[in-house]
Symmetry: D2
Subunit: 358 residues, 4 copies
């Protein structure tokens, strides 16, 4: 299976370098007879586009073209290929980078692995790739929506500024009304202030996204190596700049005792629920009917406008001063990416689960 | 592909319930002509066995049998099937659990997903499964060793007791001389004290394992969806009780600025290295020649000897008092499991990389 | 994915050399809550065992052991591992073969590919492997039976003796009452005579099996690369000694004109059928509701008791005289193997189709 | 894995309906640093285009666009996406077909499977899809060529006119100088005459292609379920209109005795060869160094210009008279398709074999 593919039944295979002709992908295994909601796709792509002053000035108009798999806007059951042109590529910004390795970029590893690299932008390693994921995720979300499954991610930390309290069972898009997508007025403002400070310093910063998914049926996820948290972790760790994944109590589990951590089962009308949700929605790798709650950690982006020490492609020490239009913090823009990757994982498990409904 | 399989070229497919006849698996894609080091396999299985007073009194003698794939102890290139009998199963301990859902166990989700469950022990969800992983990991390690790649995991936190400083570039097995596998005398003693306290309270506790891998060649990992950290996260999140994964600075990345996080490239003799290793050994999902460093968070195990509230299989509220022989803390025993899963991921990428050496 | 695995949702992974400790496999993706019919498994294994004078005198008692995946005989949804011991291995028969390449055996290619081979029997390339397939096929058949799908293979040619007319829509096992499994009294006798002649000549001979599958739902098979005939061809061509596969008119299609070949659609009560079935049950790679009819060609087995010219492992010319207990013709015994492989393919597509029922 | 994907390391994933915006695909797993020979790609696509009077008048100019994976014409190691526009689609020809099932077309099965179908042309089931395969095959051939592996297919039968004798070890393109691609002057003429006759009758006819591959290294193909003939059969049976596959003696094996069929090993300088090649180049599913020789049977194409009986989508009996530009016989045009699919299979196995070179 292609290393540029994800999924077992509902699959996405992607292509494209950031400054090449186009990026795009092929969605396969999408059920037939779904009327594609183009407005939702556009909305999701727009959510990923830079908007605030802390985000790249690159004007990414993500005009997509669906070149197969639909007839009169309805899915045929055949592969849905889509193309997103790279309209606003300014390779000139990258001209001075051909013979130099940018610190914490993949220039170095791509060069060594392949013996060649695309010097225009980040090539295949650029976050532009995630546009295709958001596109495919928007298709996946339509199927999930039809099953009432709702995905809502939000910013829970930027730098050392943390959201105090998670919103309980949030709805999709609820965080979009906040500039930093941190769904608390005060924290949102604090983060804006912090980002202004980072911007002035020509620096960048990271953060954490929390994702909450509600109305998942019980039984998604497959033992042993297709556990739901394992597939989610895999999907999240493929996102550019992501350095950590945790579900439920995550790393905090280490300091809890079993008596504190365990989620008691309780009797509710016609349903077994848990009193608490430290597990974050799965038991034994399988969804248990509680909200799925996981967190994803992003490092600060590598492209900062300060002078940095590095080496050239011959290994000689040199300095670099990156120019161009870069984000101060990508975390708010990564919300739709996290949601999209979650949607791709979930729709795949949903189809697999249907295969076993006797 | 079977959800009980992992790997693309070097694959492991496992089977077995904890209290059934046996567990085991099939390793496929192992190169031919490797003389299997049975002593290493035994050593790794023994490392996973309970030893200290904080671990289950269940005497697991993991006698394995290799039933195919070898001729005179040398690999044939054909599937290596192995069987590990469940010799010391005491299903009686579980008799009272058939009609009850144990808090934070997968009894509930397995029952709902499959409409049936194995009431003996944890069935397929039991950590006994990991014995097969350690077995396969021991085979994988032999191939990695031949490439000089060394994996060394150690306990870096139990409860709120943390190892102050990571050992730099540790060697395999170095932590085994410490009872809690936390490689610092003082911290080791503190943790023992803490575990005694937890034991008295009939409670359990979690912790964190750090894994350090050295001498990785540059270029392991495949963009986009087979990034090395993504495959590692996937593998680690399949381990029972694991709730989080991070690589390099991980969640701490969120509070670092780009200028603090970025790893400068430096000129060393004949090699490009980085001055720091905040990335934890990968760039763009591909190994960069630095030590691979990741951390895995474990929740406290669910089986505590205190009375707990729960429901029965009809959803009626009830109480449960789990009996039997359970670990207070599985983290020290999980060291070889973390290493084994890392070995399986790495050997697979190593083979794939060889396919592309022109 | 392991090259010793087949299937996407319903998978079989096998292991074992013919003269090693045991052969066996892991079935994964089998739905839960199926009461396994052990008698059917035994029956199928027995159908594969030698019976007539034209078949090996090796007394293969295929005692199997299911070591996981069942509780009280009912599937748990977890991997079903099974072991079939090699009880009657007489490696002594093979002692003189260690340094010689048997004509038309895979000794040569295995040695060259792996740099090592198992000199006992055919190692992994032995047809003993197919016992595991028959086992797994018997499990698959139970699921198919529950959907009313019936598989019936029969011998349609041995040497140049051909069955004149295919039986219309035959039922499972219907050919078993004929010694050669060619379901026509006269032809059966002719073939017996021919086999006696071949036996006397210390020679071997091949033949053709036709397989007929009825009551398939419309819609099995996935475009483009998972077309039903393509997956069937793949499965059949993995069977030892198989050299050809054809569906419907197969090779005879070449001489038909479109006006002769085309299957007219006709109106029947509540159903669209075709007047003829030259296609053999699929259109565009997808089952069309007609009987699936395909044919599989077997070469004569390589082990003949005549002296043959060959080379030794150093490449020096030599002679060989194979001893031991070998079949004159394996085609009748291959009936359950062909059916089993068909069952594995069909049950996989059946599950996939269920995933897409909206 | 997408059912529109083929391959394990070197993969092709395709998309596109015959009368939609475009067809195309993504090649992944292609080694880096290969200078793409665009002329070869064009040549192969042209070989697939209709040329003679027996082939569709549809003027398919297969202008392709490579939208990713290359930098200055050299492969980057990243996915190579290509697009082939459907420039000359005349959906009007198909307007009367929306409510009718064409005999022996997949209209019926696609409709039933998906509950919807693309009424323009054959949708996804059209042979136009094979253009993408030829494209990808041309890339694969470049890698094979660098290993000296040569693929040469030719027409060996049309209707009942057969090539008497196979050309021994033919070179690529050798059959292209014959109008029908049957590489014998006299037979070529006979076939032309026959095709004229079929054309006059408004009928169509099938045929057989033989493919010969030389200079394959020993050791390609993976036991058990990835045997080389099994993967080839799978690949060939995905080609539109293909109804049969055989390797070496194929179906003729049935009438040979072991003493006739067995290929004696012989001593040649520094190499072990076989005296004959009844096996067709593999033993135990693994290439043995002899020419790989297989045959593929094509049915007559379904679209004939005669009036035919059929049913409409409501199941009511009706008549159909297909119009438009259709081939009388696709077999000559299928030569590059057969070669392309063979190339895809072989390059995949070549990469896998490299992974295991120690």
């Amino acid at each position: 299976m292609s290393s540029n593919s994800i999924g077992k039944l509902f699959t996405l295979t992607t292509f494209g370098e950031s400054h090449g002709y186009s990026i795009g992908g092929i969605i396969d295994g999408c059920p037939a007879n779904i009327k594609i909601d183009f407005a939702l796709i556009k909305k999701e792509l727009k959510r990923r586009s830079p908007k605030s002053e802390f985000e790249t000035k690159r004007n990414e108009i993500d005009d997509f073209e669906i070149v197969s798999g639909l007839y009169n806007g309805v899915t045929l059951g055949s592969p849905i290929a889509f193309i997103i042109k790279n309209t606003n590529k300014r390779s000139v910004d990258y001209d001075n980078l051909e013979n130099i390795y940018r610190p914490s970029h993949s220039d170095f590893t791509y060069s060594k692995k392949y013996g060649i690299r695309d010097p225009r932008g980040g090539g295949r390693a650029s976050a532009r790739e995630t546009t295709s994921w958001v596109f495919a995720g928007a298709v996946a979300k339509q199927i999930l929506n039809a099953h009432n499954i709702e995905i809502a991610a939000f910013v829970s930390q930027i730098g050392d500024i943390k959201l105090e309290k998670n919103p309980p069972s949030p709805s999709p898009f609820f965080a979009d009304s906040f500039i930093t997508r941190c769904p608390d007025k005060e924290t949102d403002l604090k983060i804006q202030k912090h980002l202004n400070f980072i911007l002035e310093q020509k620096d960048s910063c990271g953060g954490i996204i929390t994702c909450n998914i509600k109305n998942l049926p019980i039984g998604l996820g497959e033992p042993i190596f297709d556990k739901l948290p394992a597939r989610l972790a895999h999907a999240m760790m493929t996102i550019n700049a992501v350095k950590g994944f945790e579900i439920g109590e995550g790393f905090n589990s280490a300091i809890l005792k079993g008596s504190e951590y365990n989620d008691e089962f309780i009797e509710t009308k016609n349903q077994i629920r848990t009193k608490t949700n430290h597990a974050g929605g799965t038991l034994g790798g399988i969804s248990n009917g509680e909200d799925l709650v996981f967190r994803v950690a992003f490092k600060p982006i590598a492209s900062i406008l300060q002078k940095q020490n590095t080496v050239d492609t011959d290994g000689k020490a040199t300095e670099i001063e990156i120019k161009g239009r870069h984000d101060v913090c990508v975390v708010p823009r990564a919300i739709p990416i996290v949601e999209a990757m979650a949607a791709l994982v979930l729709v795949d498990f949903l189809l697999i689960a249907k295969a076993y409904k006797l």
